[in-house]
Symmetry: C2
Subunit: 343 residues, 2 copies
DNA sequence: TTCACTAATGATTGCGCAATCATGTGGCGC
DNA sequence: GCGCCACATGATTGCGCAATCATTAGTGAA
């Protein structure tokens, strides 16, 4: 008894512990622990006494201590590039909700599309010994990969589909999205393409797919604008205005997100460019407003909530040790082009 | 040694501990601890040995144990109603970013505008003994209030300004916003008002302020539509369509968010209703797109990021014990009406 | 050289809980 | 009435770390 022996309680009362509850209930501490965690192991009488004592003392278990003893934190680390994008917000919501129902809590990290930032977050988060980890994308720093492998914790990488996952994988192929969009526009008879794309890794993948689809048909984009994240409406509008001011002539604009597409369409309307007759515009994400712009926006639908749900479900199974199948899981949720009026 | 004595290491290697590092470094565990936490207390030579050993073993401190020993978790609980609303997303980003810079991590809870959900989240989160708590709004269940007071942890309530805060308060008056909007529209000569508002508490406050402003001028809204959260574009558009179908005649629509306003404007355009001549539309939030809709959207600007920043800063000060001023902090960040073309 | 003093390091203990092992306590059959 | 067994309960210990106290090495002045 060397520390915390300030003779009378110093100022504010300390939180009651299991022992305090036990004293009030007139049972041993371990009985309290069992009454709370494995109620079926305890007699009705004891359980009633404990419940009353918990109520009376306002006891809340200290999970720091519990986690240390059990070596399980019931904590899941979640790292996303941003929450400003509604589609990631949906994933975050689905994940926290699903995990919470299973008794896990979510430690959120926002990496801002930076690998270094992700690494720093990861290092800090791993110190809390999460039971599971959900990451966005497949790209991580070498140090992060090493750390993650050493942690021997279930991991789900989301929002992408590619080679060499750390563990499980839930997403879709961005390259294929871009390719499909390229083919779609070609089929619609478009021939002169501009691209307005965010500069994050997945948007680049889509852009690469798009460009490749064009190449296969002997076409190339007349202009490509890569914009710094976040991909805001205003940046999309401005980027397209700049392209027009530079004298670019195109009959289709590929956009890496609906938000950018919305900006592009607004600028087009502002300049009296008829969509879709003179110009096709296609977005990505199928956000809420896509079906309601004028004209309505053709877009690529992907399901952020579903990604979160599946990722969380898989993680829960892995953490509970139910599915000890060692083969890595790979879930392709695909995508679909929603044809509307803009393209 | 009663537990964990599976004779050889069972399967996967356990994470190295302070003791492992100490053995490798050839010093005592406490020296390792000091080298990491109070490097100035340790000789250069010892620190070098420790650093090398940490590197070699891939040691990551176990914060569960550290927090238990120090009685500080460096964890902050954050509860927001949603992250789907970009303006809350900004607050979340600002908070996590600011806290992280100060060495705190954020435990995110999404309450979905439900007091019960908030209470459940809070109970779970308090078990992790956060050093600080950031809540949205002033309304909490009675049990939550009791728990929070007992926790004796610094708290910041955000996004509102009202009576009887638990501790500190960072926000603005929603009632005043509604009132200001009402007066603004009256000044613009509008006389027949409709309202499309979300059914969350703060939107209701704004609506009340709006209605009161009208009453003072002898007016009342001809129609009010309260929509379930989330306040999506499509719901706003549909609500306004319904109002029109019911034969409501109005020359101004008050909307509790820009997203709803965007929907209302789209429906108006769709029906050929001229904005602003036949109809004024005003939103709330001044989201990114507000300056770029056709016509541009008059809105109320509030700064979600600033709210997060100020809340986090205050909390950091309170947690570090720097500002032990017992008087509760109350920061009014105000708002401003951004006049554009729609009203 | 010796002593007082500081800086650096180490040994021990407890944070609050749950896992393990040990001990009751009652019910049932014979 | 005795012994066995199932069940309920309790005592002890360790999870990994840092706070406290104790000790050693190192420094300079008298």
């Amino acid at each position: 008894m060397s520390q915390n022996r300030q003779d009378p309680p110093p100022g504010r009362a300390k939180a009651p512990t299991l022992i305090d509850v036990a004293k009030v209930a007139g049972v041993s501490p371990i009985t309290v622990s069992r009454a709370l965690n494995q109620p079926e192991m305890v007699s009705d009488k004891a359980r009633a006494k404990v419940t009353a004592a918990v109520e009376k003392t306002g006891y809340l278990p200290n999970m720091l201590a519990g986690s240390l003893a059990t070596q399980t934190s019931r904590l899941v680390a979640l790292i996303v590039p941003t929450v400003a994008n509604p589609i990631f917000a949906e994933t975050v919501r689905a994940i926290t909700e699903t995990l919470e129902r299973a008794g896990y809590q979510t430690l959120l990290g926002i990496s801002g599309y930076s690998d270094q930032q992700e690494q720093d977050l990861l290092e800090a988060i791993l110190c809390r010994r999460p039971d599971g980890i959900i990451l966005t994308g497949l790209q991580h720093s070498e140090i992060s990969r090493t750390r993650l492998k050493a942690a021997a914790t279930p991991i789900v990488e989301t929002w992408d589909l590619g080679e060499d996952p750390l563990d499980a994988l839930v997403g879709f192929s961005h390259y294929d999205v871009g390719r499909a969009v390229g083919r779609y526009l070609l089929e619609k008879g478009r021939r002169r393409f501009a691209a307005v794309s965010a500069d994050d890794r997945r948007a680049d993948s889509r852009l690469a797919g798009f460009t490749d689809a064009l190449s296969e048909a002997g076409a190339t984009p007349v202009a490509t604008r890569r914009l710094a994240t976040p991909a805001k409406f205003s940046r999309g509008r401005q980027a397209f205005a700049e392209l027009l001011d530079e004298g670019i002539e195109c009959d289709a604009v590929y956009c890496s997100s609906d938000t950018l597409a919305h900006g592009v369409m607004t600028e087009a309307r502002y300049r009296g460019i008829d969509i879709p007759h003179r110009l096709a515009v296609i977005g990505f994400g199928d956000l809420d407003f896509a079906a309601h712009t004028l004209p309505t926006l053709t877009s690529v639908q992907i399901n952020g909530a579903e990604i979160g749900l599946r990722a969380a479900r898989h993680l829960i199974a892995a953490m509970s040790g139910t599915s000890t199948s060692p083969d890595p899981v790979r879930i392709d949720l695909g995508f679909s082009i929603i044809e509307r009026d803009s393209a």
